[in-house]
């Protein structure tokens, strides 16, 4: 059930109406059933997996919480992590590692390697809910939170449908207490939720799906052999496609949650206005970047063990962050590029004694030059993210040295600008006013007017195809 389809809005409307008519515990039952229906809509078989990993995690966490024996606690933590990451490994990475191993053997001269790869479907959202489960079990182990007493509450925390498939990855300390306490209907939050949903639909259906037409054409070779112009068109188009797509998804998820009285963490803060790669990662997929920081980078040692260890930790974190996105070397290279970029940025700051600044001025020409530079570095990495294979990515990048022009390129750039410029200016506006969505701090009348204008644009300009959200694959 994609967020931008009629069936989702019928489903959401029914749930919201019934939900606010029920008392708190029954609300939780309703939401759990609804979330499992939502998830089973793809394929009911996947429900077994999520139910199993939820149950294992719940009972392990309870046992960890009760135990004072460090060895036993560690054993239970390891068991839970092994099961959760084991599921992820089997369903997402097994084929990748076997194929890569076979390819390596072939390179060494061993031909006809019997791989016996399992051809299995990737359950939607497994990367997201696994990370949420890992965060929960680790937090319980660290005694940062108390384990949940109720399987219903915990199962709902894991499976609450707005975040289930593609996040934002919720922290147990943030979402679990909301599940465990009665929610109170808040007019302003409800209204904000509606506006977030409209904002998300605009980003996804109008901007991302339109940019996807160009990105797909370039990356599939339909715009002809790669050259500077087509690489630029394809890469810019994909950069805005993935931003519109994922930030749109996050907005709809957050908006849907707000209609139910929940609050989800912000996932995007104008990432293409970042003035450094470090700044970019504070603005892009925030729920993942902070998860990687808290559950991988810091446990690895963070920056506490000297410069070399810091660089190593950065690289490991970004490489694994890349691999988290998908079982393909393209994602590993994407992560590596960001790791190298972050390391170089850190080295430059250390060498020249520069301080990392938050929220560079929107009127400073130097800051804009930095933004343009960072945007293009990010775009370079998107080529690997989008390409089907490493070879395809290098083939496309090979076109950077080829100068060629066709009148159709100009049309493509104008088409792109028509959809990207409004989103860009919305981002600048949000940045200047420090708002989550446009006109957040204006009066109701203005916000209603803006919401209706957005709805009219969505109605008129939505690309028609059912384009799955990119992050549904991860």
């Amino acid at each position: 059930m994609f967020f931008d389809t009629p069936i989702y809005f019928i489903f959401l409307t029914l749930i919201v109406v019934c939900y606010w008519l029920l008392r708190w515990r029954r609300q939780n039952v309703l939401l759990l059933v609804a979330s499992y229906v939502f998830y089973g809509w793809w394929d009911p078989r996947f429900l077994v997996l999520i139910a199993l990993s939820t149950a294992v995690d719940f009972y392990c966490a309870r046992a960890i919480g009760r135990s004072e024996d460090d060895r036993r606690r560690k054993l239970l933590l390891s068991l839970s992590l092994a099961i959760n990451l084991g599921f992820l490994g089997i369903f997402k990475y097994f084929n990748f590692f076997v194929d890569s191993f076979a390819a390596a053997l072939e390179t060494l001269g061993f031909h006809h390697v019997p791989t016996g790869t399992l051809r299995i479907l990737l359950p939607p959202g497994i990367s997201f809910y696994t990370f949420q489960e890992v965060a929960y079990i680790v937090d319980v182990y660290r005694r940062k939170i108390e384990p949940s007493d109720s399987l219903l509450d915990y199962a709902l925390f894991i499976s609450l449908f707005p975040h289930l498939i593609a996040g934002p990855i919720q922290r147990p300390s943030h979402l679990l207490p909301q599940v465990q306490r009665p929610r109170v209907f808040d007019d302003d939050r409800f209204f904000g939720g509606l506006l977030l949903i409209l904002s998300g639909l605009f980003r996804k259906c109008v901007v991302a799906d339109s940019c996807a037409l160009l990105a797909d054409a370039v990356f599939s070779g339909r715009m002809g052999p790669p050259n500077l112009a087509t690489v630029a068109i394809g890469t810019y188009a994909f950069a805005w496609q993935i931003y519109g797509d994922f930030s749109g998804y996050s907005d709809i998820a957050r908006g849907s949650a707000q209609l139910l009285g929940f609050h989800f963490m912000v996932n995007f803060r104008q990432p293409y206005l970042a003035t450094s790669l470090q700044d970019f990662w504070r603005r892009w997929h925030i729920s993942l970047s902070t998860w990687l920081r808290d559950y991988l980078y810091i446990p690895l040692g963070g920056n506490r063990h000297g410069e070399r260890a810091t660089y190593r930790n950065l690289m490991v974190t970004m490489l694994l962050g890349g691999l988290w996105h998908g079982a393909n070397w393209t994602f590993v290279i994407w992560g590596a590029l960001h790791g190298v970029g972050l390391a170089v940025g850190r080295a430059v700051r250390q060498t020249f004694g520069l301080a990392e600044r938050d929220g560079a001025s929107l009127t400073s020409p130097v800051a804009w030059l930095q933004r343009i530079a960072v945007f293009h570095i990010v775009c370079l990495s998107w080529v690997f993210f989008r390409a089907q294979s490493v070879g395809d990515a290098f083939h496309l990048l090979g076109g950077l040295g080829v100068l060629s022009w066709q009148p159709e390129y100009g049309i493509a750039l104008r088409f792109l600008a028509m959809f990207v410029i409004p989103l860009f200016f919305l981002d600048v506006l949000n940045e200047a006013r420090a708002e989550e969505y446009a006109f957040e701090r204006t009066g109701y009348q203005w916000r209603v007017a803006f919401g209706l204008a957005t709805m009219a644009i969505v109605t008129l300009f939505s690309a028609n195809q059912l384009n799955a959200f990119i992050y549904f694959r991860f």
Binding site: M1, F2, T5, P6, I7, I10, W41, D187, F190, F191, L194, L195, L198, L213, L214, A217, R222, M223, Q406, P407, E408, I411, A412, R414, F415, M418, Y444, R447, V448, G451, L452, M455, A456, T459, L460, F461, S462, A463, N464, Q465, L466
Partner: protein, 337 residues
């Protein structure tokens, strides 16, 4: 709460207004929609049993651009009253359900000519929501979701499109608005159009098309209509026409290949060898004018006769074709009974 209520009510009004605008005005302001609505009504009106005999051509942009229909209409008259119903980006499934609806709504021509490429005959999908609205009845739309194994998400959108004109036509509405904002956008779309890179195999075409031909033939026969397939000539000679002809022989449906694929030069096409340009359309139409009367009559009378030589047709009508002209690849032929 008031603000939320106003926003929700406003959004519902926008949706209702969009439905009303599309229902009332879209067919009038959009040239494509208007053309389609006119052709649809003409198709419904095409009842047989009259003199002259009526032939209905259905297909996609290959029919729209590949045949100069006014010329064909004039030159087939008075023996035949030719009409057409073109819906772009349509394939076999669209026309199976499309013809069901046309027959149900009263269309009763003597012959229906379905003009699709072999690849389009074998595709398993449809144009999507647009087809649900413009080519299917609501009941058939539900049946189609099961027959085409649609995912529930896609199926619900499809069924909604069969009852909501706005939902079914929203892609066209967007294209219409974008076309007004950027008149040259169509040039970009043609430039970057999708070409299926998979090689088509005659055996696969035969296997996939034979049961479809049979199904269509039975549908048409149930309404007393003769149905024939017309294969448009594309640049690539290995387009699977042989498989389609064999499928026609197996299923007892006539497959017309007046001009084999690969026979026309590159200069006859406006794109990568798929859609004929004005020159190609003129030559192809001239060929059809000579070819069709006998074939249409023949298909009804279940008789066969040799077709005119393609090379002579080309040289008569175009003052000679370049070195690639003349019969190439599959000979012009008629399959079936």
């Amino acid at each position: 709460m008031r603000a939320s209520a106003v926003l929700i009510a406003g959004c519902l009004c926008i949706v209702a207004l969009s439905e009303a605008v599309v229902r009332i005005g879209f067919d009038r302001v959009s040239k494509i929609q208007r053309r389609m609505a006119d052709e649809y009504h003409a198709a419904i009106d095409a009842s047989g049993g009259h003199s002259p005999s009526r032939v209905l051509f259905v297909g996609n942009s290959l029919l729209d651009e590949g045949i100069q229909f006014d010329t064909l209409h004039q030159r087939l008259a008075p023996a035949w009253d030719a009409r057409r119903f073109v819906v772009e980006q349509t394939y076999y499934n669209d026309w199976y359900y499309g013809l069901r609806r046309l027959f149900q709504e009263g269309a009763h021509p003597d012959v229906v000519v379905v003009m699709l490429t072999p690849r389009q005959w074998t595709r398993d999908d449809t144009r999507g929501d647009y087809s649900a609205q413009y080519l299917m009845t609501a009941r058939d739309a539900v049946t189609a979701t099961r027959a085409l194994h649609m995912h529930p998400t896609q199926a619900t959108s499809f069924v909604l499109a069969s009852v909501s004109k706005f939902w079914g036509a929203r892609a066209e509405l967007r294209n219409f608005v974008l076309g007004r904002a950027m008149p040259d956008l169509v040039r970009l779309m043609n430039f970057s159009s999708v070409v299926d890179p998979n090689v088509i195999q005659d055996d696969n075409v035969e296997r996939a098309a034979a049961p479809r031909f049979e199904r269509l033939r039975e549908l048409a026969a149930a309404h007393g209509v003769t149905i024939v397939a017309l294969v448009p000539p594309v640049l690539d000679p290995a387009d699977g026409t042989r498989g389609l002809v064999r499928a026609g022989e197996r299923a007892g449906m006539t497959v017309l290949t007046p001009v084999p694929s690969g026979a026309y030069p590159r200069t006859f096409y406006r794109d990568a060898g798929f859609h004929l340009n004005a020159t190609g359309a003129r030559v192809f139409t001239d060929t059809l004018v000579k070819f069709l009367p006998g074939e249409l009559g023949g298909s009804r009378a279940k008789a066969s006769r040799p077709e005119p030589a393609l090379g002579s047709v080309l040289s008569q009508n175009d003052g000679g074709v370049d070195a690639r002209g003349g019969p190439r690849g599959l000979p012009a032929r008629r399959a079936g009974n």
